[in-house]
Amino acid sequence: MKFMVIVKASAESEAGKMPAPDLFEAMGKFNEQMIDAGVMVASEGLMESRKGFRLRFSKGKHTLIDGPFAETKELIAGFWIIDVKNRDEAIAWMRKYPFTEGEELEVRKVWEAADWENAGAPDIVIEEDARLGAKETAQK
């Protein structure tokens, strides 16, 4: 069962600062544990929102809004995709993360083949998703 774990931004991440050495090392060790346990599917950090932008869609018109964006607590700084037995296992892993300063992780379930079928997705989407899922599993 795949979950996305979202790391919310902070003043430091938005300033493009690296984590302090101790924390950086602990984060590295945590990632290594997840890889060794075979639960890590993906892990990425995002550059500060100043280097990003948003697009709002309306019929026939797109509005471009350049970063940075003020709502730091709602911005993403990074994420993992993990593959575990269930939500409890996802949370058990994430409780071990070496954060201590009021940081927040958000755990979200990822749509998988059975979900697409239940939502009445057309066959081509279910097949496409299954093919991509097989590719991801093969790459693990």
């Binding site: 795949k2 950086f24 990425e44 996802a90 409780r95 979200r108 990822v110």
Partner: protein
């Protein structure tokens, strides 16, 4: 350069699943990205009401279940694509079949090469680089 295209959902509490028509339209865009060899990853997320948050204070962990009614922008899903520059990303983003005030946020994905290597970071960066070398490849349709 890698870019993450994040679909923002306006109302954290009430955003629902996509309609079959939207799923089909997205499927067509995804196929185009796959055929062009630019798609590195994509996922749809279950709505915020089934989300869980973990907050870390010292050694304490607080686990809270959604919905998170104060959240103005929950994430609905994302793509990660490889693109030469902002213009190329924009060309892809323009094709997203949204029409009703939806927003996407585009962010640069950090590359291990751009971090400073020193005694503290080297091991973690090496491991990240090795993981990426094995797992980050264009998806094929």
């Amino acid at each position: 350069m890698r870019y993450m295209i994040i679909v923002l959902e306006g109302d954290g509490a009430t955003a629902g699943p996509p309609t079959p028509e939207m799923i089909a339209a997205m499927g067509r865009l995804n196929k185009e990205m796959l055929d062009a060899g630019v798609l590195l990853a994509m996922e749809g997320l279950h709505p915020g009401k089934s989300a869980t948050r973990v907050t870390f204070t010292g050694k304490r962990r607080k686990v809270t279940d959604g919905p998170f009614t104060e959240a103005k922008e929950m994430i609905g899903g994302f793509w990660i694509i490889e693109a030469r520059d902002k213009d190329e990303v924009m060309a892809w983003v323009d094709k997203i079949p949204f029409e009703n005030g939806e927003q996407v946020e585009i962010r640069r994905v950090a590359e291990a090469e751009e971090f400073e290597r020193n005694e503290v970071t080297a091991e973690a960066l090496d491991m990240e680089h090795a993981f990426h070398a094995e797992h980050v490849k264009p998806l094929k349709g």
